[in-house]
Symmetry: C2
Subunit: 247 residues, 2 copies
């Protein structure tokens, strides 16, 4: 991507547009990180991205007790898009769900939809915190786009506006379904995908029938072992990414 710059810190800024010469004030967390963790100084170079205008070389313009401001110098990488894969997952206990969001972003998912299932036991999520986790993961894994985390929603509502060309990989435990890799092999290259992971207790019979009934659903098995929800999410996403990148 930008080999000569790879040692420079990489910072995501949620601004509309990036252009040369522009100055940007960084967030409180980034200010703290640069000043107290990295011990950066005025003039220190960084990489800046906003998820849509590529990667920019920047230099610290001001680093005071109060704030950090950077100036954009030049564009060093064109914008790229991750493979078109969404994650839909029931919230699970906090640490495991944070992990699932972080790894989904690291493995390149473009959207993350927390969805309520019948056996979901967690009734609230902190969307902003999960989005921050996704942003941090993007900074670290060098992706240029950002995984968007949605508010907690219902499968039914998502399905109402679902584009039938997007196949929903429906991960079943113990159920009878073909292995994920075999199911993927039958799809045309570049098929948009989504991966659905249920709560710890699995899907109910009613849910399974409802989801199987959708024209875009692709029931699959992740093997004979019973995976934790977060492991299933990472495994399914890794296999789907691997399939998408092969073409």
């Amino acid at each position: 991507m930008t080999q000569p710059y790879k040692t420079l810190s990489r910072i995501y800024v949620p601004v509309e547009n990036l252009s040369g010469g522009e100055t940007i004030e960084l967030s409180e967390g980034q200010h703290h990180y640069l000043r107290n963790v990295m011990r950066a100084e005025t003039g220190t170079q960084l990489r800046i991205f906003n998820g849509r205008n590529g990667e920019w070389l920047a230099a610290i313009e001001e680093l005071s007790k109060k704030k950090a401001v950077v100036t954009l110098l030049e564009k060093i990488g064109e914008q790229t898009a991750s493979e078109d894969i969404w994650m839909l997952a029931s919230p699970i206990k906090k640490e495991a769900f944070d992990f699932m969001v972080e790894k989904s972003a690291e493995l390149g998912a473009v959207q993350f939809f927390p969805v309520i299932c019948e056996r979901t036991v967690v009734s609230r999520i902190n969307r902003d915190r999960l989005q921050a986790t996704a942003n941090d993961a993007a900074e670290q894994c060098e992706r240029l786009d950002i995984m968007q985390v949605s508010d907690l929603g219902d499968l039914e509502v998502l399905f109402e506006s679902w584009s039938p060309s997007r196949k929903l990989i429906f991960c079943l435990e113990r159920g009878e379904a073909p292995p994920l890799a075999a199911a993927l092999q039958k799809l045309p290259p570049d098929t948009p995908l989504a991966i659905l992971i249920g709560p710890e207790g699995g899907f109910t019979e009613v849910e399974i029938a409802f989801i199987r009934g959708q024209s875009f659903a692709l029931p699959v098995s992740l093997g004979t072992r019973i995976l934790k929800a977060e492991t299933a999410a990472v495994a399914a996403l890794a296999v789907a990414q691997s399939w998408a990148q092969k073409h």
Copy 2:
């Protein structure tokens, strides 16, 4: 596997042989778990496995303050073997390495070799603790074999007795190598595999040349994103399992 028994607790016992009518004293941790967490009683049924003689239905014979003893009733599942995939990984910081071992066991690796690389910064591991983590994962994910965790070793030593039929998936960062899925596609079905994951700092040029020079090495890329070592391990293993199960 054993659908009617799936709600019964599953316990691994490190004994040589299992046979009907036998009584087995459980470990201190299992005793505590059954007595204080599960509130089990004399007569409570369990599932017992030792990694080689299948799965057994058992009943608690004694559950006192001092110990837990079970009696094996009948065999309810034949022994199965996981796909022949090994993990070789540099130790990394404790929490991330524990995670890597747990997920490797959950995703069905049969051997786990912690290996010292040039940029490895962790000089000691607790093999027994890591083995216990692998055993716990086996209990939970319903596999019947146990992932064996080795002591910390050297790549050179492992390579001296390496069977050339076992392909070593050599995961490279930023390096030029084909995607993992494309590389796997060219292998004959049932090829024994091993996955090699380096330390956080990656492999040195000298190591890369040395490993690439092995006849059994298969350099691969896990995509354009820079994955954390533990994420790379889980992603590569999931893709390899998925390939192995497709045949």
